[in-house]
């Protein structure tokens, strides 16, 4: 099975960069792609979206880091990762050697951190572009969730756009935990974002009725999985309606091709499959096949025709 064996033209793009298919991994849900190799042909994915990288190696938070919730899960990993030096020396060359495109998620606590990461990633082989993670809920304070404030969010995006390789599109990853997502979307695109990734997890909390204390070591965590899908589709819908020219990478609870279709119809030109990979390691390939079938069944000859169709 390849991404190209369907009658429907499934090619799409991230900004100016063409993709063989519209299904990507989701940041934080497929590590750096290596562990999926036994289960999917990584070269048929639109791209591997890496776990967010920071300047320094990070241990992440103490355990417990996970609680299962109805049709979803709460996680509190705390951005464990090798740091940019480790990524450049290990994971990115591994992907490049196999011809697997990487969309690198970057994160930081200061505007300068993001800019430095973008600089370090200029011209790196195989790096299609950058997803700017300004919306991870697992940080020390809500003040660090840049995506909750249009000004803070656009400061980060402007700095990244200025520092990044001009050939690499940058997508700002937005949080649904805001009163109105459209002003944030408008601010970051005005600051130079080539596209938007929606949505990051929602801040949640689970209490163990036996211990009568929060389950997670980090107390709060990010809620993901099909439970959040309607919130994500709503965010994509609202932003596409307000900013129809801005490309959207949609994610949030996609488990099947029909789930992905909802995002496409709402306005996403590509999708990330995240938590579903924990349940089904071959989910990305399956969602691609199912989405192609669903588009064909509805008379679309290309994915592009279906993007935003629900608005028309």
């Amino acid at each position: 099975m390849t991404a190209l064996d369907t009658a429907v033209d499934m090619t799409t793009a991230l900004g100016s960069v063409p993709l063989v298919g519209p299904v990507l991994t989701a940041s934080g849900c497929s590590a750096f792609g290596q562990e999926l190799e036994p289960f999917v042909d990584l070269t048929t994915l639109g791209a591997v979206v890496t776990k967010s990288v920071q300047l320094r190696p990070r241990s992440g938070r103490p355990t417990p880091r996970m609680a299962e919730t109805p049709s979803g899960m709460l996680n509190s990993i705390g951005l464990q990762g090798p740091g940019i030096d480790g990524l450049l020396a290990g994971e990115l060359p591994w992907l490049a050697e196999r011809g697997v495109p990487a969309f690198v998620s970057i994160a930081g606590t200061r505007v300068e951190d993001f800019a430095e990461l973008a600089t370090r990633l200029r011209g790196v082989p195989g790096v299609l572009g950058l997803e700017v993670n300004i919306s991870c809920p697992n940080v020390e304070s809500r003040g660090e969730v840049f995506a909750c404030d249009p000004v803070a969010a656009s400061d980060v995006v402007a700095a990244v756009r200025a520092a990044a390789d001009p050939a690499q599109p940058i997508y700002a990853k937005l949080s649904p935990d805001v009163t109105d997502i459209v002003p944030v979307a408008r601010a970051v695109t005005g600051a130079g974002a080539d596209g938007l990734s929606m949505i990051n997890t929602l801040l949640g909390l689970v209490i163990d009725p036996d211990t009568m204390r929060p389950v997670l070591g980090g107390v709060t965590g990010g809620l993901s999985g099909p439970a959040v899908r309607p919130v994500a589709v709503r965010c994509v819908w609202q932003v596409h309606q307000a900013l129809p020219e801005v490309p959207i990478l949609g994610m949030g609870g996609i488990r099947s091709g029909l789930d992905a279709l909802q995002f496409v119809l709402a306005g996403a030109s590509a999708v990330s499959v995240g938590t579903a990979v924990f349940s089904d390691p071959s989910a990305t390939a399956r969602v691609h096949t199912e989405l192609a079938g669903a588009l064909a069944a509805r008379g679309f000859s290309s994915l592009r025709e279906a993007v935003g169709y629900a608005h028309r």
Binding site: R56, P57, R58, S59, P62, R65, E68, M73, Q80, D280
Partner: protein, 295 residues
């Protein structure tokens, strides 16, 4: 020279597969259910210490996370793999209710197997509760390599003992303990471990964390290398979710939050920092970036 008696467990020989497997048999064993699966590719690749991860609840399930369970045995010729399911939550209860003819989505074999000692080395195997099941294949493999195998199985009560019969078929000695004295000697496995560790060249353990810690400590104190198979809560089992980490000392002497699924579940017993599980010590690699600094 390394101050550690163990080297980190190497990777398995084969990558995992994802398959729909038919349940061939479901046998109640005390408080547990032993499932035999038609899974020839898993059976053909599995090495003792590895585990499989099940999807639970069927296509309409609201429980999305995989359930990781140690492989209790494989029959390469028959193409079957066996697991012992301990029902305690909705997912494991659903699994324990599978009947012959049902199918389950299984990923495996996963994780790193138990490293093996020089042929002929006397080995002490310690299983707590259903953790004993993970040692059955190891016992047979060690015997085939000329090891004398001393097995200890313990549980809260007789119904929670596991694999005593299977271990008895291969081990030279099987000591049984229960907390309430309903089978074997009354007390913890540590009583039997203390008696047997001195005559052993290597120790293996699978079971609850406090037991693993006690066995590892006893082995290390006796100068005996030990390997423990941990049971951490895992969302995926394949190494992508980062939820199942433990503070483990690597080959370079540095402590990292290591994934129990892909860097474990088998760790050197003297490399797991049991006392620090659930906390973030300052000397874990990357703790400084979390704002945790040397006191």
């Amino acid at each position: 020279m390394s101050p550690y008696l163990t080297a980190p467990a190497p990777r398995a020989d084969h990558p995992p597969v994802q398959r729909e497997a038919e349940v061939l048999a479901a046998r109640p064993v005390g408080a547990y259910v032993e499932l035999t699966l038609a899974a020839p590719e898993v059976a053909g690749r599995a090495q003792p210490g590895q585990f499989v991860a099940f999807a639970v609840g069927g296509p309409m399930t609201a429980n999305l996370l995989r359930r990781s369970i140690a492989i209790a045995g494989t029959d390469g010729a028959a193409g079957t793999a066996t697991v012992v399911v301990a029902p305690h939550g909705p997912g494991s209860t659903w699994l324990a209710q599978r009947r012959p003819g049902d199918t389950v989505d299984v990923v495996g074999p996963l994780g790193r197997p138990f490293p093996l000692p020089e042929p002929g080395t006397t080995a002490l195997l310690v299983g707590g509760g259903y953790g004993a099941a993970a040692l059955v294949g190891l016992a047979a493999l060690l015997r085939s390599r000329g090891s004398r195998v001393l097995a200890v199985t313990g549980a809260a009560d007789a119904a929670r003992l596991c694999s005593v019969e299977e271990l008895g078929e291969t081990a030279d000695v099987v000591a049984v303990t229960t907390d309430d004295g309903s089978a074997g000697r009354a007390g913890r496995v540590t009583v039997a471990v203390a008696e047997l560790i001195g005559g052993s060249g290597i120790a293996y353990a699978c079971g609850p964390m406090p037991m693993l810690r006690a066995v590892a400590d006893a082995a290390t104190a006796a100068g005996v290398p030990s390997y423990v198979a941990v049971e951490e809560s895992m969302a995926c089992g394949i190494g992508v979710c980062m939820t199942c980490v433990l503070p483990v000392v690597g080959a370079d002497g540095l402590t990292r939050f290591s994934r129990s699924c892909t860097e474990g579940p088998v760790f050197g017993g003297d490399r797991v920092r049991f006392a620090d599980v659930g906390s973030l010590p300052w000397d874990v690699v990357g703790a400084d970036a979390m704002g945790v600094v040397r006191p």
